[in-house]
């Protein structure tokens, strides 16, 4: 590759690129109209055959959610409907990115993702309202989770509190403020601000220091003071888990279900709800616009996920709190959080995602500015 090669190539290749771009745009518009046509056709055919089979593509959050959805939700749904379900594990933001890339022929029929991210997406373009008449179990949801006009139900509640290593920290922390304690110098970890865990944490800290949902300035001031204690700011929950496993950090905000999963794998980790209360991260399920599978099938899949049966298993095996009011609270959760759902929910803040998403870009930039080394 020589310099003259570049000089010679530029005009011709530019022309070629332009021609191909034009062709590409033409091609794209063709496929769009073609695929919506075939979608309509397949919708018509599969509608009639929905109870005797069909195919459904659903997303799942990765990790313990994938394991649970595969072994419980999908197997029950397939057995009930005779359908064939493919499960695609993707983090919330990637699900939205994939849908945005081809809104007229979406790669999935049903998505399952974090409500915080869902709320920030262009909902009208990508999703459709939940057809309540097609769901049998919707009335079993706790009253506060029901709505006549909804994009989809919350399928569980992840309680976020403080995760710590009980081998090193023998007296459990009691407050979010403990993260600033001198004795945890270099032992605290946070996920980056793009993670909803940290958004919620910053909200909590702001409110403890005179801020509000819109005003995170007090939390950013506190974040600067946290610097000596901070062992690291990790990219995501997966990286945080590695740090706990390696004994690299001892204390961090995290959710109960991830901590319980680690505990079951033999990692020295435990979880407490701080006295100021924790906050809730809420995965939701929604049907995409223009699904390839029939609407009946997609609605039934969501119905399965909120059924008493499935949510009982979710609560017992994954330690995700139920949104279905008929689910009993198992002892392991009751001991940490309270005996019934109403009591537990008073200790968990449900975040105002509409406000958060409006400020998210600015806050992420501010957070990055403070933690950059």
């Amino acid at each position: 590759m020589s310099n003259s090669f570049f000089a010679k190539m530029s005009r011709r290749s530019l022309l070629g690129a332009a021609a191909f771009t034009g062709a590409g745009i033409l091609l794209k518009s063709c496929t769009n109209s073609a695929s919506t046509g075939s979608n309509a056709a397949s919708n018509a055919t599969s509608n009639t055959a929905s109870q005797t089979g069909g195919k459904l593509i659903a997303t799942t959050l990765p990790g313990s959610w994938e394991q649970f959805n595969r072994t419980v939700v999908v197997s029950k749904f397939n057995a009930d409907t005779g359908a064939e379900t493919s499960l695609v594990p993707l983090v919330s933001a990637d699900q939205i990115a994939k849908l945005k890339a081809s809104p007229s022929s979406p790669p999935f029929d049903v998505v399952s993702l974090d409500y915080g991210v869902f709320d920030g997406a262009p909902k009208e373009e990508l999703f459709q309202k939940l057809p309540l008449d097609k769901l049998k179990n919707y009335a079993d949801l706790a009253e506060r989770f029901q709505s006549q006009d909804t994009w989809g139900p919350l399928i569980g509640i992840q309680a976020v509190g403080i995760a710590y290593n009980p081998k090193v920290i023998t007296t459990p922390p009691t407050s979010w403020a403990d993260l600033w304690d001198d004795k945890y110098k270099g032992r605290v970890a946070l996920m980056a601000m793009k993670n909803n865990h940290t958004i919620g944490f910053m909200q909590k800290v702001a409110k403890m220091h005179g801020g509000s949902t819109e005003n995170l300035d007090p939390a950013f001031a506190e974040l600067e003071k946290l610097a000596p204690n901070l062992a690291g700011v990790v990219a995501n929950a997966g990286a945080l888990i590695t740090l706990f496993q390696q004994g690299e950090v001892d204390i961090a905000p995290h959710d109960l279900n991830s901590v319980k999963l680690l505990q079951s794998k033999g990692v020295d980790i435990d979880w407490v709800m701080p006295k100021e209360g924790g906050f809730a991260l809420t995965p939701t399920m929604s049907i995409v616009k223009n699904p390839t599978a029939s609407l009946d099938l997609a609605a039934t899949y969501i119905d399965t996920a909120i059924s008493t049966d499935v949510q009982t298993q979710m609560t017992e095996t994954s330690y995700v709190l139920p949104t279905n009011k008929n689910v009993p609270i198992p002892a392991a959760i009751a001991q940490k959080l309270g005996n019934n759902l109403d009591e537990i929910l008073t200790k968990l803040e449900f975040l105002d995602w509409a406000t958060i998403n409006k400020n998210r870009t600015e806050w992420v930039a501010e957070f990055d500015k403070i933690v950059q080394v």
């Binding site: 310099n3 690129a17 771009t21 996920m191 980056a192 390696q246 950059q372």
Partner: protein, 283 residues
Amino acid sequence: MNIAKLFTPREGQLALPLAIFLHLFYVIPLAVLLASSFQQAAGVPGFSLGQYGEFFRDPVNLKVLRDTIFLGVQVTLACLILGYPVAYVFANAPGKWKGILTFLILLPLLTSAVVRTFGWVVILGKQGLVNTFLQNLGLIGEPIKLLFTHHGVAIAMTQIQLPLMILPIVASLSQVDPRLAAASASLGGGAWRTFWKIVFPLTLPGVISGCLLVFAITVSSFVTPSIIGGGQVMYMPTLIYQQAVVLLNGPFAAAVSAILLAVVLAVVIGLSTLGQKSRAYIR
């Protein structure tokens, strides 16, 4: 124009399948990307340099750009310094060792970058191999912080990119006529002088293509910087991901991508000019 002429096989036509593939899946998306970087906001038509202005106005973004280029240069130099001797040993090794050495050199490429990166998390941690080793030797009292630092990323990237530096240099070295060294020796040239005056210049094309590969792949790699660097050291690819996927700020992400592309292209053009010169020098 004679139609039959179109169907007479020419060498260029053999590359046609790849050319079509690249145009469909690389050139067109690239054009779309560049086009969207000139949007004022996602979905707003019109031409604007606003996204680029925004990038260059913010000192945080400029630091990200500087860090990325610095990382690229650091890793390239480290790979060159560590990789050249390995390539030299390989080229001069007896035949039966070459198989084993090839395997050892290629070994890092046989596992996925994600797995290797998590391995480095274990090695670089405060209770990891490096710190335990240094502490047991009594060289350091307190563990040094490597994870979530620029140096940690540079160390891990160097290991991951090393094969890409070694292989082109090996190819270059194996083309050097061994009689040249003998001739140099007969004319009174010492081993050191022979190497610098004869062998090294002859392998410059290999060195340059190795540097090109390592630099381009380092500045555009995502997994290792995001896991080892965490949220505290940001590079261009992590910035692009954050803007495009997390913050849904497509046009800005496209502008950042275009800037990264421009940097890589500048280095590619610069190094290939150098490559051209070095080839002329050999003749």
